[in-house]
Symmetry: C2
Subunit: 245 residues, 2 copies
């Protein structure tokens, strides 16, 4: 999990302190966009919690079940601070999450894992991609929101666990590698297409990236560098699993 591609070295929002945060929130469009983003992240965390508990249920070994259930509860611990932040911003957390329930649920229904290994990879690839994406976006936000987002996406030890179990399974039976590599590609494709659909429907995110009076936006070159980093990190994660991307 070392050497992941990091966001551009000097993020435009990097110098903002908490005093400037309140200034940022005077821009109501900015505030609405942050609420939207936090709503998506929060429902994503709840959804990740459910996926981890599903994986825990599929575990054949009791220590594996326990390890996954524990990770799930750690992940769920991120939900409360996010809900509080949404409330602080004057929005209703349930309403903020509502637009993202269906896209996440559709994604999960379309990528239901057929076994324990597929479930592990889905959580690993999905959480990794989501975390990378949100951290990228967070660079364009006020520092308080940025810190909250980065903290919320901290890995709960899941990555090492998945890498270990998947590598072990491939060692035991080389044939599973091909099937799982295909699965990883499919997940990436479904995630991107679902994300695209959300972005098209909710223009708050687009507005956020376009910038504001006090916030520089993301130009096309920066956007394409971002997608480059996301793809690169995905490939690195697949390689860590011993799979071609």
């Amino acid at each position: 999990m070392t050497e992941t591609s990091s966001p551009d070295p000097s993020p435009p929002g990097g110098q903002q302190g908490s005093e400037e945060d309140s200034v940022a929130f005077e821009d109501l469009a900015y505030r609405a966009a942050v609420v939207d983003l936090l709503g998506a992240i929060t429902y994503g965390e709840i959804s990740a919690f459910e996926r981890l508990t599903d994986d825990a249920k599929l575990a054949e070994e009791l220590p594996d079940k326990l390890a996954l259930a524990k990770m799930a509860t750690v992940q769920f611990g991120h939900v409360e601070p996010l809900l509080e932040r949404i409330s602080t911003l004057g929005a209703d957390p349930m309403e903020a999450m509502a637009p993202f329930v269906k896209p996440f649920d559709v994604f999960h229904a379309q990528t239901a894992p057929s076994d324990w290994l597929e479930g592990l990879i889905k959580a690993y690839v999905g959480d990794g991609l989501a975390a990378d994406f949100y951290v990228e976006i967070a660079q364009y936000l006020d520092s308080g929101t940025r810190r909250l987002i980065v903290d919320s996406l901290a890995d709960a030890g899941h990555a090492d666990f998945v890498v270990d179990r998947v590598k072990r399974a491939i060692q035991e039976d080389h044939r599973v590698g091909g099937r799982l590599a295909l699965w990883g590609r499919r997940l990436m494709g479904e995630a991107l297409s679902q994300a695209q659909r959300v972005a098209a429907e909710r223009d708050s995110l687009a507005a956020l990236l376009a910038g504001g009076v006090d916030r520089p936006g993301m130009d096309l070159a920066a956007l394409s560098r971002m997608f480059g980093r996301l793809t690169e990190n995905h490939a690195r994660r697949m390689a860590e699993l011993g799979l071609d991307s």
Copy 2:
């Protein structure tokens, strides 16, 4: 949730302090029995966690989903101290839980709820019965173990939540009451028959209840009073739901 039938007023183990605890554990049969009991309770908690997350997944309303997921994580928080206690007693927690995996899993497979309300009732009735039973047994144990057990079984706010949702559902459609009352009876029957099977296979519990040099046992009269209290509390829980037992 008031006025539940409590265990006999002066529990025989009630006067034991933590110094006497170490004396109790010099009896290796006692130590093994406690490990067995804690193994059962711990796997029961993990199993309850899984059931709550299943219920959370069935929730149609986002606040319900969130409330149940939160209860699940609170419940899971009891697991760690139990595992530690088993280790402190010189046993392997995974081995201690192993004999109870199948009975619990069989019980859950035989009583898979067909909808959200059945799931809620199952968790409420099942957790209540289990908690009553373990707390009864705990009265015959050293004080350290007793405290741990009682703390582990503290209700995570689940009871009030279930009572509220089930009552509301019956108000909206009176016909569901009959079906759910039947369901409650079936759950009680399955739980008792599964518990009986476990007790017959593991004689450590029987030995525990028979007492030791320094611990009085439970005679037949006390045993029958205990079953009376378990049944009474079950009936009270069903009545709180607005259901006949």
